[in-house]
Symmetry: C2
Subunit: 325 residues, 2 copies
């Protein structure tokens, strides 16, 4: 079983999902979010230094925090007022702003700032007061290092581009289903490389649904939630023939093409049936180097994609997309 | 009942979907595609002039068609070979290319071109032959006029930006459900203006599902397919409180925010409960004129959006998006 992040480099070319007579199921899941893996809290940073001094730079409208370790951070008044964590300004249960924009004075000054109980306490000109935890502030310091660290914490940014020398990472299907660590390792490899080969799934339909339910939910398309890639009479898609397919990217006519697709080879063809995959990001990078003009055309010119027919429902979809996004 | 194309100008601001105590249902539908409306064939253009002469310009690798009306069209050899409509190169039932890229010679010449039975018949150097219908060719002429006409045929390109002087277009809910012309008029207004007010829906839950099934299918989100916007304890979203909301755009943390949302006011609040809507495109255009630097920042700088909690499923979503897209 293959799972991969479809890399939207080419919408019309590049990725081959099937050869001849292969009969995988395809399923799409729009994002990674589930019962046990995705909702984990952010890692605890802890160990932030204490605040030595906090003072308002009224001219610059910045709050300056001098930390015990000798470093210094600057926070705009407006940003602090906008990010007030009090129950009036932030709905704690949703972790969302409830302060109305109309009540935010973007030109606000600061009446007073003091350290109280190891918190930075601010009184605003309208006598509203805000309290900030030093850890919270330190983590949101505007230095490029702190911002980089926060991005690393929020996103899995590591990427590997690959060519034919790739050893496709593998994982055990049942382990991924039942062991959180195996599932996380699978997802991280999928994110980093874009393709993972899962072995050991039962050779029967329904396995991709089990896998997708493990990490999220399926996205409905006009071909349904999942479908059988097999030779069909009056095929409404070239994938439903036994003919060879060129490298391609799936669903270019969709406004939002799939992010992850699962293919399960339930019945291997006696002859043929090879699947070919290509790293579109790698090819795009290569093209950018070798033929910048071609890259520029393919990434700036929107072309028409169309898909029409009847499947899960009647459909007639028309879109304009870049070949390389 | 309001339905509108959410205009993704501001992901954090601009559009208000509810005021206080309003209890609409929200439903999202990702695209327009249904049993009766969307799969209509393209309008018949007809009446194309006949071909007076077809000749290969070997130097330029262009086919020149002189039409009976005195006009002239040029088609690149490679484009013609790529678009061969024969059963080997095009899967008719899918209206899709089955010609493999590896079998396409992008530097192809042309052995012969002739008019046969009012078709343009081409023989390629490998003796493969292609036949093109004059209507088909005329419609795909590369002149800017023909390309413009084709775009007008493929897309509903008309847009109206609006301010507070807008008279929100209205339609009758039951008519839209049962009359194709009314449904088409509703969708065209929705596309053009971005908001339509449907009257006459029964004041009970389930109406948005009926409406969405009329034109497509709902998109699943981690808040479910649809949800009740009402005051909830420990609200996981500011929309689930009775507090006033600032103008905003929904679901900025999603990779693919909704295109169309339906809100149904099932129970009007005794006091308050107003909904406010703003045309984000209009505001963005205004900002572009009045403060190009601000527009540039908001449309080029990606900011972090986050949404976490538990609803249809546990979720913890993080995204980077432009405020103005």
């Amino acid at each position: 079983m293959l799972s991969y992040l479809t890399r939207w480099v080419s919408r019309g070319a590049f990725q081959a999902l099937k050869g001849t007579s292969i009969r995988p199921q395809l399923v799409k899941t729009p994002h990674i979010g589930n019962q046990t893996l995705a909702a984990a809290p952010l890692p605890f940073t802890g160990g932030s230094p204490g605040v030595r001094q906090a003072r308002a730079l009224d001219q610059e409208r910045l709050l300056q925090i001098d930390w015990d370790d000798g470093s210094c951070s600057l926070y705009p008044f407006t940003w602090l007022r906008d990010n007030c964590q009090c129950p009036h300004c932030t709905l704690q249960s949703a972790q969302a702003r409830s302060l109305l924009f109309t009540n935010l004075d973007v030109h606000t000054g600061m009446d007073q700032v003091q350290l109280m109980d190891n918190k930075v306490s601010i009184t605003w000109p309208d006598q509203h007061s805000s309290e900030f935890d030093p850890d919270w502030l330190k983590k949101r310091c505007f230095s490029s290092e702190a911002r980089q660290a926060l991005q690393e914490e929020l996103f899995l940014n590591e990427r590997e581009y690959w060519d034919s020398s790739l050893q496709i990472p593998t994982a055990d299907f049942e382990e991924v289903l039942h062991d959180d660590k195996a599932a996380l390792a699978w997802l991280e490899a999928l994110r980093r490389i874009g393709i993972v080969y899962l072995r050991g799934a039962p050779a029967e339909q329904g396995q991709v649904a089990r896998l997708s339910q493990r990490i999220g939910y399926l996205r409905l398309t006009f071909y349904g939630h999942m479908w059988q890639v097999q030779d069909k009479p009056m095929a409404n898609n070239v994938a439903y023939t036994s003919g060879e397919l060129s490298l391609h990217t799936d669903y270019p006519a969709l406004h939002h093409p799939p992010g992850v697709q699962f293919l399960h080879c339930v019945c291997q063809a006696d002859q043929g049936g090879e699947s070919e995959v290509v790293d579109g990001f790698h090819m795009a990078e290569q093209l950018r180097r070798e033929d910048p003009e071609a890259f520029n055309i393919l990434s700036s010119l929107r072309v028409d994609f169309t898909d029409s027919g009847a499947d899960y429902c009647d459909f007639s979809v028309q879109s304009k997309n870049h070949i390389i996004e």
